[in-house]
Amino acid sequence: MDNKEELRWLLSEVPNLRRAGVLDEANAEALEKHCLGELDLKPPQWRFIYTLFFIGLGMVAAGCVLCVNNFWYNLSPHWQLAVCAVPAVLSLIVGMVTILKQKTQLWREFTAVLTAVAFGLLIAMPHQIYHTIGSWREIYVLTLFTALPFIYIFNSIALTTVYVVMLFGLSSWQTSHPLAGAFAALAILPMLHIHISRTSPDRVWSRYLMIAVAGFGLYYCGFNWYPALSALATAGTMLYAGWILSERNERYRCNPWLTVSFVSMLALLAMASADTRFFQIETDASKAALWAYWLFTGAVLATNIRLFPKSRLDAKRICTGLAVLLPLLIFIPGVDARIMKIVFNVYLGVYGGVLMLDGFKRSRLLTYNGGIAMVLMLILCRFFDTEWSRLARSIAFVAIGVVLIAANFIFFRRRFKVGR
């Protein structure tokens, strides 16, 4: 039997079948053994044993830390250094065993995290031991970059998660070098790409991590020069990727790109259509900041170009592609932020209309609702910032509301007909 879901279901049914008398004790045991063997699973008792093992391991580690803490100031600096080196030596041994004995994924995750923690300790502790005021930023950046090769060597998704969370720590120091953040974000992308593109069991989690890395890159590098381009390019690229997954009928919770990118795109287009400051270009950016900007934006644009031919070429995709290209209009002589604002007002309306039409044609409620959300956002923004009289606004609202109700009615009638 190939389907593991069905095997799991069968396994869960064994106790019921035994109670009902359909299976006797020997047959139930044989069936359970067979299913577990096929699934390559341990019996449920193993989970309890594992849990107890890890709780015990945690308590032993905590006890050792407390014991060392008690005697810490009675040790000479050399002994203190020796104690700090113990986890590193342990990680070396465990690392060798993990590689040579080709241990399981759980072992690899444990080894990667242990090695990274051991080196974090070894980097930070000399300052504590010699009572010098170490640079916290230096320690943090070094620990982060030291963890990176261990992620790849042990193919560890747990350490990748820790790394991605730690990336955000870089943004808390204004003095951090702009390129350090750009390299830190770009360096983890191949690992995430490997997990996402292959049939890895961690591919869904890697998609969530990719959103975090994109968010960090945008915050750290994307605002250094022309935020409109980097932000719209990131949202557009992620939207492409989300659509590709959606066409493969990926489940909703397994496709976080679609929701996040659509909401971001909606917010960005609303800002672009409402405020000329959205198109401001940072003129005082340093050379390093510009490099960081183009490294990030270049990577995003390259991904966008790579994804574009993978999906079906229709009005929806061309419109999304325009979101990436339209910010470049500002570099045409004579085009200023006011004209850009008008362009994005038109674009938001057209994009919403295209999505509604596409959803209507293909009877896809999600796309249709996306289009409605875009049109509503445009109306809402203009309701607050246009200087029409109250009567004119009320008439406009009633008219648009009637159109929306009619469009919804037609859409559901069509879906009903198609369904019948």
């Binding site: 005697f71 100031y73 250094l81 590193a88 070396l92 040579l100 080196f119 070894l122 009572h131 010098t132």
Partner: protein
């Protein structure tokens, strides 16, 4: 098992491991092999932060907020020394430092502190390392270092 992939992994792991040792070893060598420049800073005053906790009401608008301050958690076992740094251009500019010691010992030695105006002569050694870092050395009262006996060590 020594497959080709495993050999590559082991080589990569060993190289990365050795490379990652560079920074801690370099730092330790700085502190162990290079002789630091020592400066003596005059101790203007010494205070013990022995507040257990403090509840400070703060009225903002119509809401009354209460700040809970637990200096014991942050600055326990530390003596606050206000300093006057020497005029040497290489000396670090320090206004105050927290000197680590136990609460009991700090209470014991605190009465022996007198400000320079009262004729006291308390100094704090500051060690400056070639890598630009500095650390606190001995605390000297009338030229004699103040050493806290180590807790838990049984005298022979």
């Amino acid at each position: 098992m020594l497959t080709k992939t495993n050999i590559t992994r082991i080589v990569a792991f060993t190289l990365v491991f050795a490379g990652a040792l560079y920074y801690p070893v370099r730092e330790v060598l700085y502190y162990e092999c290079e002789k630091p420049t020592e400066y003596r800073c005059k101790v203007v005053s010494a205070e013990l932060n022995d507040k257990e906790f403090e509840i400070r009401p703060k009225v903002s608008g119509r809401w009354q907020w209460v700040d809970y301050i637990f200096p014991r958690a942050e600055k326990a076992n530390k003596l606050l020394l206000r300093l006057r740094t020497p005029d040497d251009p290489g000396a670090p500019r320090l206004n105050f430092v927290y000197y680590p010691m136990s609460r009991e010992f700090a209470k014991k030695i605190l009465p022996s502190f007198r400000s320079p105006a009262e004729g006291g002569n308390a100094e704090l050694e500051i060690k400056c390392y070639p890598n630009g870092r500095w650390s606190i050395g001995d605390l000297l009262i009338d030229g004699k270092p103040v050493k806290e006996p180590k807790v838990g060590v049984i005298a022979p």
